[in-house]
């Protein structure tokens, strides 16, 4: 941490790997690609590092590579100060594709290794079986770890606690699992109730995401404040809470909350859950658990699911990810 001069954020151990610890606030990679320009994105990463964030999230397919490129530039000279994660987007396809994606991610991130490499967007009922199949992504993950290109392995998904549990039950040696965790999740289709205790029991690092429910809708709506939302998420038994910060004022707000973090008491947490319970109960603040809008076209195509442009959800999905449903550009061999 030598090159850092700013504030400090509490650290927590990375699951059962007690020798590794990361900041309780992590910087989300998708929103980095939403920053108004490259200069802003680079400055955001540097200010985050300076403010005590060590955990950086990303993904091969965020903004079709732009998010990884921006993070790579922002972390120049700081690689050893941070814990770097990105995700692989095979969505059921072959392990050989995963290895190609890994090389591309390493190039864009300007590094020779990742601290954590996760299978992205596990959200369909048959994902565990596709992941584990002979020649699938699971094999690639183990190979990458053996080659020293990644230290730890994990998976992510925002859809269904039952699918997370069935991934865990494949027996694959996951070091980390990422999922939506917020005060609304406590009521609706709950990862907190169904998945988190299992991770804690197994010593798998729990990575929370969507503390503000994705795009901050309940905060704009007045159901709770950003501070309540983030404090709640960081007070859960998780390793870190990943949130998107595409503007300096959002980053500064979150740095301040994380630097001063005192976990909420159990009764404070219950009170907040109870307060938002009624608005949480239909899931309209957690549409990522239910709506096709939060699938992604690449994943749907890889699974052989159609992109029915008559469907409102599919139209919104395609708009949201700036992907018309055509395959991504070829991956260089």
């Amino acid at each position: 941490m030598s090159s850092r001069s700013g504030g400090a954020i509490p650290l927590r151990p990375f699951g059962k790997h007690a020798d590794v610890s990361v900041s309780i606030l992590g910087m989300g990679g998708h929103h980095l690609g939403d920053a108004k320009d490259e200069q802003t994105a680079i400055a955001l990463v540097r200010e985050a590092v300076d403010g005590g964030i060590t955990f950086f999230d990303n993904c091969w397919e965020y903004h079709r590579g732009k998010s990884e490129v921006l993070l790579g530039k922002g972390l120049k000279g700081h690689r050893t100060d941070v814990f770097l994660m990105t995700k692989v987007c095979t969505h059921g396809r072959d392990g050989s594709l995963a290895m190609q994606m890994l090389e591309e991610s390493l190039n864009r991130l300007q590094t020779d290794h990742l601290d954590l490499w996760q299978a992205h967007g596990v959200g369909f009922e048959n994902d565990p079986e596709l992941f584990m199949r002979p020649g699938g992504a699971a094999e690639a993950m183990l190979k990458a770890r053996e080659q020293g290109k990644v230290r730890f392995l994990g998976f992510t998904g925002h859809k269904d606690p039952a699918i997370h549990l069935s991934m865990l039950n494949t027996g694959f040696p996951f070091d980390a699992v990422q999922m939506p965790l917020n005060a609304f999740d406590a009521t609706f289709h709950s990862f907190q109730a169904q998945v988190l205790p299992e991770l804690n029991r197994r010593g798998v690092a729990a990575l929370g995401m969507k503390p503000m429910s994705g795009h901050g809708e309940p905060i704009q709506n007045g159901a709770l404040t950003a501070e309540e939302a983030l404090r709640y998420a960081m007070s859960l038994p998780v390793t870190t809470t990943i949130t998107g910060m595409e503007k300096p004022d959002i980053l500064r707000q979150n740095l301040r909350i994380a630097q001063n973090h005192q976990p909420m008491s159990a009764s404070e947490m219950r009170a907040l859950e109870d307060r938002v319970k009624d608005v949480a109960a239909d899931g309209h603040f957690e549409l990522y658990k239910v709506s096709l809008k939060f699938d992604n076209p690449e994943a749907r195509m890889a699974h052989g699911f159609p992109l029915d442009m008559e469907s409102e959800e599919v139209k919104e999905m395609v708009t949201a990810v700036e992907n018309t449903g055509h395959p991504y550009p070829e991956i260089p061999k």
């Binding site: 319970k277 239909d282 309209h284 549409l287 809008k293 749907r300 699974h303 139209k315």
Partner: protein, 355 residues
């Protein structure tokens, strides 16, 4: 759904069904003779004369037809005359179970059924649903009186709480003064014989309702060949209800709007046969025309459940269409949620939400 396109499938399906019956008769050991006799008996009786079979309604001691007429679609018939004809034909074929709800077509569905059942009330098992959506016992009792008036009867055979689809519904229903109290009171007053609840959303919510150990006689839920793969009521709720002796009422055998049929993922006949083959009391199907009733009756008359292996094969075949939930949008989107329910819960209307 239009019947024209589906008529093509009927004969092919019938042939496939007959072949499966023969195969199971050969494989079946002791059941060979019975199956053969059954098949012979069936062959001797024209299909149009075989009634829709009856099944026990949980532990109530009452039997109901394995196919039920959905009330929403009854309100979509062209006019009262068509509704009368549909109900009369259904009764003739042995259908006794008639579904309805207080809020279907603002009462029109109940009125149509009430009129169609004039002079035939005692041949039918009449169910309707109460639409409190979190409101209390008094609202429920008022709705009951309205339903009885529209249905032109002094009692219901079954009264169910409609649309239990939000995670706070169990709390609202079982709070002091909540709708659960109305169910018991109406039963005590002799205005309803049996009580239950319905919902199309989430098995977890159904399980929470059941966990209250309330004396429900029935529970209604979406059951179809796709459900087995995606957020499944079949695997999570049916066994629990059966364990408790609570009768299961299936609905949405074709996904609610028949899209799975129109897109060619399954035929209407396969879909209905699968649903009716589950260990449940009845399958409620929406029929907004005589043609649809006739199509359903082709499956339901003299119904023999699919062999377990055929059911598994069908589940496997449609798994790829089922795994993303696009044919069961009632589980994931707000489109199938009633506006009144959303309003009572202070939720934005579907129009105000992103898809």
């Amino acid at each position: 759904m239009s019947s024209g396109a589906n008529d093509k499938f009927t004969r092919r399906e019938f042939v496939r069904g007959a072949a499966a019956l023969t195969a199971s008769a050969i494989a079946g050991g002791d059941s060979i003779v019975a199956a053969k006799n059954n098949a012979t008996a069936q062959a001797a009786v024209p299909s149009s004369d075989r009634p829709v079979p009856k099944r026990p309604l949980g532990k109530t001691g009452v039997q109901v037809s394995a196919l039920g007429v959905g009330g929403y679609h009854l309100g979509s018939t062209q006019d009262q005359q068509e509704a009368n004809e549909l109900v009369a034909k259904a009764l003739d074929a042995g259908i006794t179970f008639f579904d309805n709800a207080w809020d279907y077509h603002q009462g029109l569905s109940e009125e149509r059924l009430g009129t169609a059942l004039q002079g035939k009330r005692d041949q039918a098992f009449v169910m309707t649903k109460v639409c409190t959506h979190g409101r209390g016992r008094d609202v429920a009792m008022q709705m009951l009186e309205q339903s009885l008036r529209r249905l032109q009867t002094d009692h219901l055979d079954l009264w169910q709480i409609h649309e239990v689809i939000y995670y706070n519904d169990p709390d609202l229903i079982f709070r002091p003064g909540g709708a659960a109290e109305a169910l018991l009171e109406a039963k005590k007053q002799g205005k309803v014989r049996f009580i239950g609840f319905t919902g199309h959303k989430d098995p977890a919510i159904h399980l929470r309702m059941l966990a209250h150990d309330f004396p429900f006689d029935t529970v209604q839920m979406p059951l179809n060949a796709f459900d087995a793969t995606f957020r499944s009521f079949e695997t999570q709720v049916v066994p629990e209800a059966n364990k408790r002796g609570i009768a299961v009422l299936g609905m949405k055998s074709l996904g609610g709007s028949g899209e799975m049929v129109r897109h060619g993922a399954i035929t209407a006949q396969e879909g209905l046969r699968y649903a009716m083959s589950l260990p449940i009391a009845t399958t409620i199907s929406g029929m907004d025309s005589i043609a649809v009733l006739e199509q359903n009756l082709e499956v339901a008359r003299g119904f023999q459940p699919m062999p377990a292996a055929d059911m598994a094969a069908l589940r496997d075949r449609v798994r790829i269409y089922a795994a993303d939930g696009r044919y069961e949008l009632f589980k994931t989107t707000k489109k199938y949620d009633g506006d009144v329910g959303r309003e009572q819960h202070h939720y934005p209307t579907p129009q105000k939400l992103p898809a």
